[in-house]
Symmetry: C2
Subunit: 363 residues, 2 copies
């Protein structure tokens, strides 16, 4: 088991990564406070891991714990304010109080919804992330960004609310569909692009081991991703500055997700497309060269990610990008690459270059 | 104009109290940042003050400001997650970004909804409270508690999110219906009961001046109430301990509001009833004497507040009180009076005494 920590000043919490952790009662007991627990999960994950988790938690404390659960429909299109309302309903029905703890058992959608519910229920209860997808284990479960989508844009409603702990049981990846695994690899590739050229090199050598779920390769990719995420979040919890680089590919990707009603692409797939578009714009601006762009494109392809974006139209793409949370006083700020392994957040690009990228991918 | 300040450590903000402040462009300009503003108000207040506020804000900066608004239905029964969704819709429609500012123009319901929308929109934007009811001016606009009701309980969904400033234009009380004014007086009486026996004495002498809206008396009551609230909130923003005394009367009152679907009583009226019940329980426990109980009851009556509670039944009252946010590990903690002017938060009361109080008022 690897142990990392996230230190954002007002709170510090552990990330635990390893096989079999959902069966480790001693570990979970030490990390999960409270008498009353509410497991938030979805229909797919509930069928695979809910009973196991309940057994692990119940086995040690028995009657001292009261465990209720709320099973949501599976899919990004359900990451809405209405679905958060269902979590509140379940918690009120079970008469859960402010000293209850929410457990987010699932992927990024479950974690974002459960974390937001924890931020708002009785003005804030604790929660623990139990990510079961690669994307959640390498990215969304760490850092305290919670929230839901709005028809007008991705993640527009939410809160910063750090979990009490993140417990990534890598055994859960065994049941993860190949498409979901690939979506998670997009975020791993992202860390290489923005912050760690050596990780990018390593990924080029190991991408096939990852797509066939070789445990040692996965453990390294998850650990290194969490290290980078924890470091960046520790420097800038509220995304005043440096944290924004973690959004590489996301402004384009969010526009794609919103334009397709959050139903056609997995988040990681849209981010992969967005990274390609951001890399393309970086190349047009002369910041990275054609060879670097090609390396990024090739790695995304080898990871099995889509490299053809949906033809949503340039105007619609621009309109949706205007709703990005990084927009300040009307200027869309983008995360672009100065070189492979180094990203900047900037509004200082030529609009004609952005138009050209959008024309290439979306027209 | 009186100026007070609220200092919660991570932020300090001013409370401005006085006549004519909604027409003071220089003051509002100095307190409200951002290019894009969203005024959140309700149908009643919009008819009275929205145009005036827009004129004041527009007159100075003209095109430099973009002002949109969202007009909600009027009433505590609309303080729901759905209504917050309407604020989000209006903000997304207007393409408001993270550097926008929300202005809460109205009473406690508007302030709570607008503040919660500000806490969650793009994971947090700034907001300014412009309270137009006595209750909002003396209590709810100060301290950063935001949120909405759930059918199962009052204020169960929300966030702590401090405003950038509170601007209480006392001229707005001229249009306030007598019933609303009386509801606000309940919270003023509360401060006397829990923290300031001299304020209680002053209220006994001045209650008639207040009910007939004598400006000097109102100004003193508002200023002193805000001083006490700012002091308590400054000591304990997140209600870890001392802030809970501000909930005197609220656990009983919230149960009454929930049992009557938030439609029969104004919040202040329910709190007035709750204070009477908390005082009754304090008397039964032998903590205050019959004369002190009678003084509280008499003052509430002279303020024109109801002193007969709805007969919601003891069991239903107890059930709803279980959803109070002060409940810890199943114990309902109540704010009770050790003496007139001094409150404690405690779970150490005899259940039979609570049952007797509920039997007297609710059976």
């Amino acid at each position: 088991m690897q142990t990392l920590k996230v230190d954002v000043g007002h709170t510090i919490y552990p990330i635990k990564i390893g096989p079999g952790l959902l069966g480790d009662g001693e570990l979970l007991d030490s990390l999960i406070p409270g008498r009353d627990l509410c497991v938030v999960t979805n229909t797919t994950v509930a069928g695979l891991y809910l009973e196991k988790l309940q057994a692990t938690l119940g086995a040690r404390r028995g009657d001292a714990r009261r465990i209720v659960h709320c099973v949501l429909p599976d899919g990004e299109q359900y990451k809405t304010l209405d679905t958060v309302g269902r979590v509140f309903d379940a918690m009120v029905d079970a008469r859960l109080n402010r000293d209850s703890t929410i457990l987010a058992l699932g992927g990024g959608v479950v974690g974002d919804i459960a974390g937001f519910a924890a931020a708002c229920y009785q003005r804030g209860v604790g929660y623990v992330q139990l990510p079961t997808t690669l994307l959640a284990q390498v990215d969304s479960s760490v850092g305290g960004k919670t929230g839901v989508n709005h028809p007008g844009g991705k993640n527009l409603i939410g809160a910063f609310h750090q979990p009490l702990a993140v417990v990534a049981d890598t055994d859960t990846l065994a049941t993860l569909p190949a498409r979901e695994l690939r979506a998670g690899l997009a975020e791993v590739i992202k860390y290489g692009c923005i912050r760690d050229p050596l990780l990018f090199d390593w990924l080029e050598l190991n991408i096939d081991n990852l797509t066939r779920k070789e445990p040692e390769a996965l453990a390294y990719a998850i650990g290194r991703s969490c290290e980078i995420k924890a470091e960046v979040v520790g420097q800038d919890e509220r995304e005043s500055n440096v944290r924004a680089v973690l959004n590489f590919g996301h402004t384009f990707g969010h526009a794609i997700e919103a334009a397709t009603a959050y139903a056609a692409y997995l988040h990681g797939e849209a981010v992969g497309l967005g990274m390609l578009m951001a890399a393309d714009l970086s190349r047009r601006l002369g910041w990275i060269d054609a060879a670097e762009y090609a390396r990024i494109r090739d790695l995304l392809m080898r990871a099995g990610l889509p490299t053809e974006a949906p033809r949503i139209g340039v105007a619609r793409a621009l309109e949706l990008m205007q709703m990005d949370k990084k927009v300040l006083s009307g200027t869309v700020r983008l995360v672009l690459l100065e070189r492979l392994g180094r990203a900047v957040v900037t509004g200082a690009y030529e609009q004609s270059m952005l138009d050209a990228t959008l024309a290439e991918y979306c027209a």
